[in-house]
């Protein structure tokens, strides 16, 4: 039980249908000392594979470099069709500091991987998010705009020269974004109203771009089968914008419409600290430290 440092990595590969290829891409993450494959799921409509793994920095780095090599060899973007936007065989590779690691270490690791895969596979790499070399490269959607097809020309523009690798789209594997970011918590809050307009109004008020919480993206969503709506939220840094703050703010804004919260849900994985911090708020815990959590001590 003694990994000292733990980093998470969630690489996205542009193959959601061919199970044999998927198996080969995931193989470098299996039965490898210092790496643990937590989950992988392929979506046929998106034609995309999302892998979640954790590991010690060095072991994780080596496994990710190897898997990127496999994907570059197996996936040809010229024949790729899917609903999800993509610019490469390996579309995006975020590194996330989890335990005993700083954001700086995750950034350094992302740059190591970026440099290595550029050299090994002749792959152009954009550093993004916290690793970005310029503000206009932070946002993945902006980097990816134009996708594989548009990247042939885009990459030749001076402002879109890759951070590593040739200033030319890889003929089959395209380009990849690699970087470091905070853990993302997908958090939805359900409202007792069927009005999508109300849900969206509330979402606009609580999200960053609407004057709301700094690390909160949100939109209104209809849950037609239940006849209710939802404020669907991405919490992009729960250490600074706490889950309970989004929850309480939605409650406050909903009051204007005579609407109330019927529940909430977390989609996918969540770091324990995000929920323990929430418990600590509601119980008004004094002098509490994560060092008091048995599992945190076991994992030390």
């Amino acid at each position: 039980m003694s990994w000292n440092k733990i980093i998470e990595c969630v690489p996205n590969f542009s193959e959601g249908r061919d199970l044999k290829k998927i198996d080969k891409i995931v193989a470098p993450f299996r039965a490898r000392a210092g790496v643990k494959l937590l989950d992988y799921s392929n979506d046929e409509d998106h034609n995309r594979l999302v892998v979640t793994l954790v590991g010690e920095p060095e072991a994780l780095r080596d496994a990710v470099i190897e898997a990127i090599g496999v994907a570059v060899k197996l996936i040809d973007l010229n024949h790729h069709k899917g609903q999800h936007p993509r610019m490469g065989a390996v579309d995006v590779v975020p590194f996330i500091p989890i335990k005993n690691t700083t954001m700086e270490e995750a950034i350094a690791l992302s740059k190591e991987v970026a440099e290595k895969v550029a050299t090994l596979y002749n792959l152009p790499v954009f550093l993004y998010e916290k690793s970005a070399s310029a503000p206009h490269r932070e946002n993945l959607a902006v980097v990816r705009k134009g996708e594989f097809e548009g990247m042939a020309e885009k990459i030749k523009l001076p402002e879109w020269a890759p951070d590593f690798g040739p200033a030319e789209r890889h003929p089959t594997a395209g380009t990849v974004a690699i970087g470091a970011r905070m853990p993302l918590v997908a958090y939805n809050i359900n409202l007792n109203t069927p009005s999508l307009e109300i849900a969206h109004d509330i979402a606009k008020k609580i999200r960053f771009i609407g004057g709301g919480l700094r690390y909160c993206k949100a939109m209104g969503v209809e849950l037609t089968d239940r006849g209710i709506t939802q404020v669907s939220i991405n919490m992009t840094d729960y250490t600074k914008t706490a889950l309970y703050r989004a929850f309480e703010l939605v409650r406050i804004e909903a009051r204007r419409y005579g609407v109330s919260i019927v529940g909430s849900e977390i989609i996918g994985l969540v770091p324990m600290e995000a929920l323990i911090d929430t418990a600590s708020y509601y119980l008004g815990l004094e002098n509490f430290s994560m060092q008091q959590v048995l599992e945190a001590r076991i994992m030390e």
Copy 2:
């Protein structure tokens, strides 16, 4: 990171002053595969050493058996004075199921250790708590009543014959209680009143013996330096009596006195599930599973 089953053990030894002896008692828990020493603290007034460790069942069993042997050799209860009641060199050894283990497995492990130390060290053992062989032996305070001194005669009574070992007090090491129990969470709720009477009244109402919550022991305590009082609680099974339930019940009962909660505190270690369950309650989480907690997945 791959202990499959984890059991916690919190042995209490009757030596709180001699640091050399303490070091020798704790030595079997150090640098041992499958065992992790989380904490140990000696109290000079109590003349007692409390050790917290976790481990895989077999490794933990062997380490605990070894440490009990060391303590039996080093500690002579005939010369032991301290504020804390005690009946043996090793006073009590609880085993607590933490991960991928059932209470039945913890009980089986406690009996294995009990039988082994009785044979190896000629030590009379009482099984207590969930391992008890009769209802009157469940409560440690009842088993220990009379302490080391009184045990010379008590152990000869038919109803106090030991479960393992000779029906005679060990001349220097006395007797020991070994058993399995749920994790205990020490949880205190602070009130904005200086009245110990009010704190104690509320404690009486929320605790099991007063008609309150099943797995809740409580008493009123004065925090003289802050001029307030506290309901000091032992949550003896947070999986059945949740932390938030005690918190909300104290709030409800305090209302009768015009008193409110100013905060609460957790003393020592707490399993993450106790707090995550609390967060889940306040956020009204739907369809949440502990499998969504990143650290739970890492520890799998």
